[in-house]
Structures are given as structure tokens and as C-alpha cells.
């Protein structure tokens, strides 16, 4: 019998602390290592100060550990004011003895002259004094680089920073130090020494990509402990602070049920083999005017009829347009809202970044608890960022919806009128459980609309492409297109009935030859 190596068990392993940053703990495989110093490096505006303060706020708010904030850059008065938007009342915490500032920011009113050699012993004494005064277990220092600009002798500052970092370690506190860097991709910190002071290094980035800012966090090194690798998107939300979106940490563990729900259209239900699955995500793809918003409206009406709460996220049309269109199809959104079964969130996609939308949608869903969520359309959100942020949004959105046991219906607009696919579909088609295509079909100088269920995971479905009309009662699905081929490719070709018979007879002859029996 082997004896497990005791050293590898809990006691000697690195202990980790919560940071108060939602989902950060997932990418840090636990939390921030206790009694270690962690360097947060980032360009201007990447969220370093917020991270440093959130780290303290997390333990102050739950009353577990007081903290000390050492500022070299902004004055303590500015920080008190700036952090109000996150709901952190720093002045109150200071009065309660849970937080102490060490304000080492430059004072513009006092001129300082250097004459001869000196050290930063007074600063260290102040930090020690503050830690002792409140009994701090956490210390944040923001930011190291600002120290270099206050004194002319860089090597002295370097030496003194080492001394302070060393002293912090021996005070038994967990420290977060911030440092600025010039570029988002380049040397870790401006003065080239900051990273050697710390046990752990994390990088915050704020990269301009396709005219949009995208924030990411990366754990570069965690001495003696495991962490997730690569960049993870995050966003800064009022009332919360930093929120990390751990996409690759989202596990494929969604439950899948065989409970069917109505699409709101009896014929469409029939085509899907008895309705949509609950906990599934359905993509409706079509060119402009093919009836995507109508499909959404019916889906919501179907939910309301079943007594399910529905959420509509509309990014293409105004509230008034949506309500007018719905009443044109015999659906009363206003009544549904009054009954509390419908909520409509209607906004320009541009008011938020994609990460912010994801967080915002998640908080609405958590609060409203809908059974059905419709998003019209994904294509409108696509213009908010590059391919990668968009793909991450779609992954985040679909996995979140499935975990909540919600049925999601997303629409996507194809660029061409006839046939074709959109970039949206390329990203999302493997993530969705069902795909419904709406297509224009040109026949004898007339535009008709066609609908087909392309994919229906875990169920048989109608393979026909059916014609449908839109009238005051909504979508009327009719017969399948016969004698036409190439609809989905966007080049419908009419075949005369005799041609079709001839093609079929060729297949039959083939089968007869192989089996020796006439094909039934």
C-alpha cells in the first residue's frame, strides 16, 4: 500500500484568497495565492486601480479582512470619489477602521529638492503603521511606475521597491501591486524590474480591435500553483467592478431534456417533429424581410400562451415598430407585458461592448427568470467587434441559456437576398441545436418565401422546403416546393414533372439491378 505524499496535500500547498472578481477564481484555478505579492501590469485605462481596490473591497465588505491601499499616483481623495460608482464607500470603511490609505501621491503644491542620499524609510514606516493600525491582511499598491517619476535616482527607487515588497511579505499580508506598461503587447512593465518583485504576474489589456476596445486579463505566472492560460475577456461594470468572462472554462454540462415546447406555430411544430426542445438553442436564418421577426413574435406568443415568461432582446427595431408589427400579426405585446409574461429590452447594439451586453443580458435573465429568450438579431451585434469577441459572445450566450434551462431563439440575417449564409451562422451553427432557414424563392417573376428545418438535434424532422405566406394571423405554412431545385443555393431551377419521373426511374432501375427485385 502506498502512502500519499503528505507534502502535496492541503497544508503545504499554496493557499488561495477570493478576489471578489466574479469568475476570476475560475481562471485562477482557485483564487489569489495567500501571503504572496501579485503584480498587475497593464496600459493606461486597463483597470489596474479598480482591480487593486476590488481586491480589498471583497474582504472588507464581507467583514473578513481589513485592507490598506497605498497610492503613488492618484490622490486618496480622487480614489474615494472614483470608486463610488462601484458602490464602495471608502470613507465609511475608513471610519469603521476597515480600510486605511497611505497617500504617497505627488503633492503639486510642495516643491521637493533632492540633496544627497536618502531612502524611502518613511514610506515603509507609514505602510507598516497603516497595516498595524487596521490589522490589515491585504495591501494594494497603485502603482509602482509612478514612484519612478517622483525621484531622479531610478536605481534607488528600484532598490526601495524591492525593500517594500520584501517587507510586505514579512508582514504576513497578501499584496497586489500594479505597474503600467507602454504597449499592450511588449515588455511586462515600463521599468523592467517590477515583475521581479512579485511572485505572481497578471496582465490586463485594453486592445483596440476593429474600432472597439476589448479588455482581457491574462495570468502570466502563478508561482507554485496552477492557473488557466491565455487571455480572458473581462469588463468593468458599475456596482460590481471587474467581471471576468471565463469562456473556455464553461463546461459542456448542459442538461438536455426531451420535453417539447411549441414554436407558436402549429405547422412549424409539425415540421420540427412536435415542437422545439426545451433547453435548446434555435437559429433562424434568413434575408431581410423573410419573416425572422415574425418567427420570434410567434415564439414569444407561444410562450405566453403556455404561461412561460419571455424575454425579447431586440437590436434591430424600435419598441414601437416591434409592437406595431406584432399587432399586425394578431399578437398583443402590450397585453403580454401587462400580464408580466413578456419583457422587451430594446436598444442600439452600440450602447455597450459585447462583453457588457453578455453581462447585462445575464443579469436580466437572472432577475426576470424567463423560460424563453429571443434575440433579434445576432447579426446586429456582429458589427460591435471582430470575429473573436463575437464568437466568444455567442458561446457565452448559448452556454448560459442552456444552463438556465431556457429555450433560446436567435435570428441571423444573411447578406444576399437569395440563398447564402452569414458569418454569424459560421460561428453559431455548431452551437445551436436547431436551424431554421427562411429563403426567398423566385418563381415565374414572383418572390415566394420558403422555409425549411435544416437541423433538429435529436429528432426526426420534415426535410421539405415549404412555401409560406404572411397574413394578419401570422405565418401560414403551405405545401412543399415540388419541381424546383437549388432553392438554398439561391438559384432555383424548375424541372418539368416528366424530367423528375425520368430521374426517379433511373434510380429505380439502379436499385432493381442491385437487388434483383423491382423497387417499391
Amino acid at each position: 500500500m502506498t502512502v500519499p505524499d503528505q507534502r502535496l496535500n492541503g497544508r503545504d500547498a499554496v493557499q488561495k484568497l477570493p478576489t471578489g472578481i466574479p469568475s476570476f477564481d475560475v481562471i485562477a484555478k482557485g483564487r489569489l495565492p495567500r501571503n504572496r505579492t501579485t503584480l498587475i501590469s497593464g496600459t493606461a485605462g486597463s483597470g489596474k486601480t479598480v482591480f487593486a481596490m476590488q481586491f480589498l473591497a471583497a474582504s472588507i465588505r464581507d467583514g473578513s479582512e481589513p485592507g490598506v491601499f497605498v497610492t503613488f499616483e492618484e490622490s486618496s481623495a480622487d480614489i474615494r470619489q472614483n470608486m463610488r460608482s462601484f458602490g464602495w464607500d471608502l470613507a465609511a470603511w475608513e471610519r469603521e477602521g476597515k480600510l486605511a490609505f497611505v497617500d504617497a501621491s505627488p503633492d503639486p503644491e510642495v516643491e521637493t529638492i533632492e540633496s544627497g542620499s536618502f531612502d524611502l524609510g518613511a514610506l515603509l514606516a507609514r505602510v507598516e503603521n497603516a497595516v498595524r493600525k487596521v490589522g490589515a491582511k491585504r495591501v494594494s499598491v497603485d502603482s509602482l511606475g509612478a514612484m519612478f517619476s517622483q525621484f531622479s535616482d531610478q536605481s534607488l527607487v528600484r532598490r526601495e521597491l524591492f525593500r517594500i515588497a520584501w517587507a510586505l511579505k514579512h508582514m504576513g499580508v497578501t499584496a497586489v501591486l500594479t505597474a503600467e506598461r507602454v504597449n499592450d503587447y511588449g515588455p511586462i512593465a515600463r521599468f523592467g524590474v517590477e515583475e521581479f518583485i512579485a511572485d505572481n504576474v497578471m496582465v490586463l489589456r485594453n486592445v483596440l480591435e476593429a474600432e472597439n476596445r476589448r479588455r482581457t486579463i491574462e495570468i502570466l505566472k502563478f508561482r507554485g500553483t496552477d492557473h488557466a492560460k491565455g487571455e480572458y475577456p473581462f469588463t468593468i461594470v458599475p456596482e460590481t467592478g471587474l467581471v471576468v468572462i471565463p469562456l473556455s472554462a464553461i463546461r459542456l454540462r448542459q442538461k438536455s431534456s426531451d420535453i417539447r415546447i411549441s414554436s407558436g406555430n402549429a405547422d412549424l411544430d409539425k415540421m420540427c417533429g412536435g415542437g422545439f426542445f426545451r433547453d435548446s438553442v434555435i437559429l433562424v436564418s434568413g434575408a431581410t424581410g423573410t419573416g425572422k421577426t415574425l418567427t420570434v413574435t410567434q415564439f414569444l406568443e407561444g410562450g405566453a400562451k403556455a404561461g412561460d415568461r419571455c424575454l425579447l432582446l431586440a437590436f434591430e427595431e424600435s419598441r414601437e415598430q416591434l409592437f406595431r408589427n406584432a399587432s399586425g400579426w394578431g399578437v398583443d405585446f402590450e397585453q403580454m407585458e401587462r400580464d408580466g409574461v413578456l419583457r422587451v429590452v430594446c436598444d442600439y447594439p452600440e450602447v455597450n461592448g459585447l462583453e457588457d451586453w453578455l453581462i447585462q443580458i445575464q443579469s436580466i435573465v437572472t432577475e426576470f427568470k424567463p423560460k424563453r429568450v429571443a434575440l433579434d438579431s445576432l447579426s446586429a451585434l456582429e458589427r460591435l467587434g471582430g470575429n473573436k469577441p463575437f464568437r466568444e459572445f455567442v458561446i457565452g450566450m448559448t452556454s448560459f441559456i442552456k444552463q438556465q434551462e431556457i429555450t433560446g431563439l436567435f435570428t441571423s440575417t444573411t447578406a444576399s437576398l437569395m440563398g447564402g449564409t452569414s458569418i454569424t451562422e459560421a460561428h453559431i451553427s455548431t452551437l445551436t441545436d436547431s436551424i431554421i432557414l427562411l429563403r426567398y424563392v423566385e418563381m415565374f417573376g414572383e418572390m415566394k418565401r420558403g422555409l425549411t428545418v435544416l437541423k433538429m438535434r435529436g429528432s426526426i424532422h420534415d426535410k421539405d422546403i415549404r412555401e409560406f405566406n404572411i397574413d394578419q394571423a401570422g405565418m401560414q405554412i403551405g405545401r412543399a416546393f415540388r419541381h424546383v431545385t437549388g432553392i438554398l443555393a439561391g438559384t432555383p431551377v424548375h424541372i418539368s414533372p416528366t424530367d423528375i419521373e425520368r430521374i426517379w426511374s433511373m434510380f429505380e432501375a439502379d436499385i432493381e439491378r442491385k437487388t434483383g427485385q423491382p423497387a417499391g
Binding site: 497611505v102 497617500d103 504617497a104 503633492d107 503644491e109 510642495v110 516643491e111 521637493t112 529638492i113 533632492e114 540633496s115 544627497g116 542620499s117 536618502f118 531612502d119 524611502l120 524609510g121 518613511a122 514610506l123 514606516a125 507609514r126 507598516e128 503603521n129 497603516a130 517622483q150 525621484f151
Partner: protein, 76 residues
């Protein structure tokens, strides 16, 4: 230096930051040693061991205004 260049017209207070860190906090001192000139205004700080005497006297504006009266010194 005080006696030589200030004609003994000064008031000097010496504070040890290790014994009295709260005073260093209130005055926002970083470096040791730091010499603070409180009066006459403007407020001025001189950090270092004062080995560059010319710079110190210039900083204290002793050269320009030899009638300085009050100083405060902090040291560890």
C-alpha cells in the same frame, strides 16, 4: 548649517518616523531624511542627507531671503 547661515534665527523640530509614523503620514513624507521648510511660505521639502549645501540653501531661499525664521526637520 543653521547657526552659520541662518544667524541662529530658526526653530527646528526633529521627528523620528519609526517612532512616530502617524506624523509622517499626516505630512505625507516618503523619504528619509526629509527637511521641511514650513515658514516662510511657500512650503518646501528637501530630501537627502543635505550633503549638497548650496542646493539646500537655495532650496531654503536663504540666499535670496536670508531672514528665514522657522524650520522643521524630520529624521529617522
Amino acid at each position: 548649517m543653521c547657526d552659520e547661515d541662518l544667524s541662529a534665527e530658526y526653530e527646528l523640530q526633529i521627528i523620528d518616523v519609526l517612532e512616530n509614523p502617524q506624523m509622517a503620514e499626516d505630512d505625507r513624507i516618503l523619504a528619509t531624511p526629509t527637511l521641511i521648510k514650513q515658514l516662510p511660505l511657500p512650503l518646501r521639502r528637501i530630501i537627502g542627507d543635505l550633503s549638497d549645501k548650496e542646493k539646500v540653501l537655495l532650496g531654503l531661499e536663504v540666499r535670496a531671503a536670508p531672514a528665514s525664521t522657522s524650520q522643521q526637520k524630520k529624521d529617522s
